[in-house]
């Protein structure tokens, strides 16, 4: 049971990785700053590094959301198994739909649902849920969008060049932002590693403590850190291309200066929040930044339809993952047979969604999207090769 839960947790970490590649790498891929393959490789390495940099968060992962410990409520591996099931399934569904949704919300939703079904309503600390999960979810995109908007306006205002005599526009020469994007997106990837790999470490540590093979109150063991770092890096490298497409070209057309501003805001928000202890979701922040930077450049339209779909996805994340988690918890509660049914059904659903992802969106469809993104940049000649290569690798993935 414990081994199975750990495997499931690592798989969740994997889905978390490929779900969130888009947060860091969608905008540089869209502007052609980094080739798609290189981008995901870079993100993977930085996630790996980030996971090792800080393990402070890992101890406090479920921190207070589910009343644990001395009050008599014991989180069992069963509950965690059910919660992870809900989180993974929701991650797969949103990935299939190409929606950037928060992996941490999926995890919290699954755990909350499983705890309610498996233990009872009293096991969940709803004040804590409101403070730690719901309110940040409202504020994160707002703050990020506002900051990204200001930064985009500033970046364009500072680099706008006019001929002093005629007042005509000169060549703007904003190519430098493309180079800058490499660094800012790397920073986002690093921040993601320090944040998201921690959750899985926390979960595995929780299971180990619950199973009695680790002393309570101790931090994650080295092999747990290494396994989680690897899982999230592999997930990142496998690339959630569908979500990258939504973030890179679905919300708004991103140009280098916008991408730079958006990524700077994302990185600043995530790092500030993880340092100051007001946890914001990477996905919420990144989506907010992209929308904000889209509003900041004149002549850009934000596709509010797509933005609305994403927000609806966010609203459903907690309850949907919670329901799956609850159902799994009920099944597991009935005994070994129920547990096997839950495990088989979960695996079948994941495999089904994977097969479904292969069927839809073949080659030509995504090619259009990427070409559109390629045209958004000015140096079409230099980037044409990169774009066509990107198409190929994208086509192969689907």
């Amino acid at each position: 049971m414990v081994a199975l839960v750990i495997a499931l947790a690592l798989f969740f970490d994997f889905t978390n990785g490929f779900h969130d590649t888009a947060n860091a790498m969608a905008t540089p891929i869209a502007t052609g700053a980094i080739k798609p393959r290189t981008a995901v490789a870079l993100a993977a390495v930085l996630n790996l590094v980030g996971a090792f940099l800080s393990t402070e968060v890992a101890k406090t992962v479920s921190g207070g959301i589910i009343r644990e410990g001395s009050d008599g409520i014991q989180i069992t591996p069963d509950i965690i198994f059910a919660g992870l099931m809900g989180a993974i399934l929701w991650n797969m569904i949103t990935w299939l739909k190409g929606l950037p949704s928060s992996s941490s919300h999926a995890l919290f939703g699954g755990l909350i649902g499983a705890a309610i079904a498996g233990i009872g309503l009293h096991s969940v600390n709803f004040t804590s849920v409101l403070q730690k999960v719901l309110l940040p979810a409202v504020f994160a995109p707002v703050i990020a969008a506002l900051v990204a908007y200001i930064c985009t306006r500033l970046a364009y205002a500072l680099t706008a060049r006019h001929d002093p005599e005629t007042g005509n526009k000169l060549t703007q020469k904003r190519g430098g932002f493309r180079t800058g994007q490499i660094f800012t997106s790397s920073l986002v990837a690093l921040a993601h590693g320090t944040n998201d790999a921690q959750k899985t470490m926390g979960i595995i540590t929780l299971v180990l403590i619950a199973a009695g093979s680790q002393a309570p109150g101790t931090g994650p063991q080295l092999w747990v850190i290494a396994a989680c770092a690897l899982a999230i890096a592999i997930g990142t490298y496998s690339g959630g291309w569908r979500i990258i497409r939504t973030m890179g070209s679905g919300l708004t057309e991103v140009k280098p200066a916008q991408g730079f501003a958006a990524e700077t805001s994302t990185a600043a928000a995530i790092l500030a929040s993880s340092h100051l202890g007001f946890a914001l979701s990477t996905t919420h922040v990144a989506s907010g930044s992209v929308i904000g930077s889209g509003m900041g450049r004149r002549g850009t339209t934000v596709r509010w339809g797509t933005a609305g779909k994403i927000v609806i996805g966010w609203l459903f994340t907690l309850p949907a993952a919670g329901i799956v988690g609850a159902l799994t918890a009920l099944l597991v509660h009935t005994g070994t047979v129920g547990f096997i049914i839950a495990a088989v059904a979960g695996t079948a659903a994941v495999v089904y969604m994977f097969v479904a992802s292969r069927k839809s969106h073949v080659g030509s469809h995504n090619a259009v999207e990427v070409e559109e993104a390629g045209q958004a940049i000015r140096f079409a000649k230099k980037k044409a090769a990169a774009v066509s290569r990107g198409n190929k690798s994208k086509g192969g993935r689907k």
Binding site: S54, L158, L187, T264, A267, A268, S273, H275, F278
Partner: protein, 73 residues
């Protein structure tokens, strides 16, 4: 409700992001000016653009220094 922390995070985000964007944008702009072939440019433009990029990099490093617990503890 931890309003103070919320405002702290919002403020820190704003300050850090604006600082880096302004520095980098200035760098980009100065590089563009230095690259203009039609007009003569004073000699300090290009070094100043490098200084902007350098300061920007320093700001990022300072941020990382604050965040990684290994350094700040």
């Amino acid at each position: 409700m931890k309003w103070l922390e919320l405002f702290q995070v919002a403020g820190a985000t704003l300050v850090a992001a604006v600082l880096i964007t302004v520095l980098y944008s200035l760098g980009v702009r100065l590089t563009a000016i230095a690259g203009d072939s039609r007009t003569e440019q004073p000699g300090w433009v290009r070094p100043l653009s490098y200084a902007c990029f350098g300061l920007c990099g320093l700001a990022v490093l300072a941020g990382l220094y604050l965040i990684i617990p290994y350094f700040s503890k």
